[in-house]
Amino acid sequence: MIDYVEFSRLIRLKALDMCHKKRTSHIGGAFSVADILAVLYGGFLNVDPDAPCDPERDRVFYSKGHACTALYAALGIRGFFNDADLLTDFTRDGSYFTSHVNHRVPGVELSTGSLGHALGVACGCAVALQEQKRSNLVVTILSDGELDEGSNWEAILFAAHHRLDNLVAIVDYNKIQSFGAVEDIMNLEPLADKFRSFNWEVEQVDGHNHVSVQSALARFRSSHSRRPKCLIAHTVKGKGVDFMEGRLAWHYQSPSDDEYRRARMQLELFNA
């Protein structure tokens, strides 16, 4: 088991390096999901960096492909590829490390970047695994904004109707979407009630509390309720750097040299 606090700190530092060096966007959403990824790849998931296509692995479909830096960082740190090259390779001409996740990268199951795709694919995968009597978990990580996409609601109906209790959807509910606050653009509330009324099993946690995330996921893995599971992870966009937290600008902005130094200092001091 990896130390979740240290792992999530490393994910954020790596994502910060990538966004700064390559002038890319979406650091806010990478920081909001970092703790969730630390739990998943830090021990919860049954995945093997040396056998990324092992049929016995848990499947992960990362729907918020724009927050690629956090996933690449997590996979790199876990050894799915040579972590030392990531900073150079990220968005380099001719590299597979595009700034929306790419399934050409070892450990990435599905390319995403267009929203509202992964949950439906996860449903198909979950049907197949049930049919083949496999016990692997199918996990998908969604952003809050992408729940505007109708395709997700088609999949939410489908998952419940087919009783896909091997499916876990984690919503990184950081409350800010592309052009403003979720509650102002397209209100999702009451989100937990929506999923419950669609016959999903729902838990809500502080998405930055590793123990809470880990315990909820563990309960989901052992529950055979014949219902799909939704973990609503309440998070903060830009979590970990005070001047990024809760600010829309960090959906787009890449840190200046000064901002990079300040952010790095905060992340290095955090829990040091």
Partner: protein, 303 residues
């Protein structure tokens, strides 16, 4: 041909245990034999074509050979981006099957007129586009798609098409190849899909000396076949129940022009395209009526 395709798929699914059929709540009195025989490999996903395509991609990645089925524009244009990204980019073993090509559902209005699908599907990398003309081609299409690994599209008419060919060998029925219906000189009429029947009828009375071939696939043409075709005929008339822009005729002209530009074809044949002139037909009408209204007859050619 719709029933022939599904019944063939049903027979093949018996031997090929990876065949999985999804439908978007359509297929009454057509899909029941498959659903009854293979209940564990059939799902009606409801009226949700985006999700149908995504589920297909998810099943395919776990080893299934997945067919999605619905009417015309619904399993195609309605979920175009899912086909592009989750099926084609991931090279998923998913075959999209649309029933009701062109004006097959004529009286039902523009929602049911499938007149841009070939252009859309053939634009996608890796997509094999198949447009059967008769029950024999539909049968061969089912066999081809069951054996093909990767994205595919099958554009079916509906029902009642007479038999055009004798039994087709698999070697005859593959992308890039054409199938001879009858020999002729000087002018070749090259058709795709079920429109061939009305064209054949018209030809026997009006242009008995012309050749008639079908092209059961759109795209991926075999260069040698095209070069021979360019040498053998002075004129080619393409016919399709689809709009002009981006359709079968376009695909053939592109391929011929590329060969000509590369110096492999010494003379560019004279190609005339019979297709729907990039319009929506808002009136009701039978398939025959709407074909005539759209000018899909040899008589409408400026000869």
């Amino acid at each position: 041909m719709r029933n022939t395709f599904i019944n063939t798929l049903c027979d093949l699914a018996n031997e090929h245990e990876d065949v999985f059929l999804l439908c978007g709540d359509l297929g009454y009195s057509v899909l029941e034999p498959f659903a009854d025989r293979f209940p564990n490999r059939f799902l009606n996903v409801g009226i949700a074509e985006q999700n149908m395509t995504l589920v297909a991609s998810g099943l395919a990645r776990e080893g299934y050979n997945v067919f999605t089925y619905s009417i015309g524009n619904f399993p195609t244009l309605r979920c175009m981006e899912q086909i592009r990204y989750d099926v084609c980019y991931h090279d998923a073993n998913v075959k999209v099957v649309a029933v009701g090509a062109g004006y097959a559902y004529g009286p039902q209005g523009v929602s049911h007129h499938t007149t841009e699908d070939i252009a859309m599907m053939r634009a996608l990398p890796k997509m094999k586009v198949c447009v059967p003309a008769d029950p024999q081609e539909a049968k061969a299409a089912a066999a081809f798609m069951v054996s093909h690994r990767g994205p595919g599209y099958v554009r079916l008419n509906k029902s009642g098409e007479p038999r055009l060919h004798e039994l087709l060998r698999p070697s005859q029925f593959r992308p890039g190849r054409f199938i001879k219906v009858r020999d002729g000189n000087d002018t070749l009429v090259l058709t795709t899909g079920a429109i061939v029947h009305s064209i054949a009828k018209e030809m026997s009375s009006t242009f008995p000396g012309w050749a008639l071939w079908t092209s059961p696939f759109v795209g991926d043409y075999d260069p040698i076949t095209l070069i021979e075709l360019g040498q053998s005929f002075n004129r080619i008339v393409t016919v399709e129940e689809h709009q002009l822009n981006g359709g079968f005729g376009s695909s053939l002209i592109e391929a011929l022009s590329d060969l000509y530009a590369e110096g492999k074809l010494h003379r560019m044949p004279f190609v005339q395209r019979l297709a729907i002139p990039n319009v929506f037909v808002s009136t009701s009408g039978t398939q025959d009526y709407l074909r005539d209204a759209a000018g899909l007859t040899l008589a409408s050619l400026a000869i």
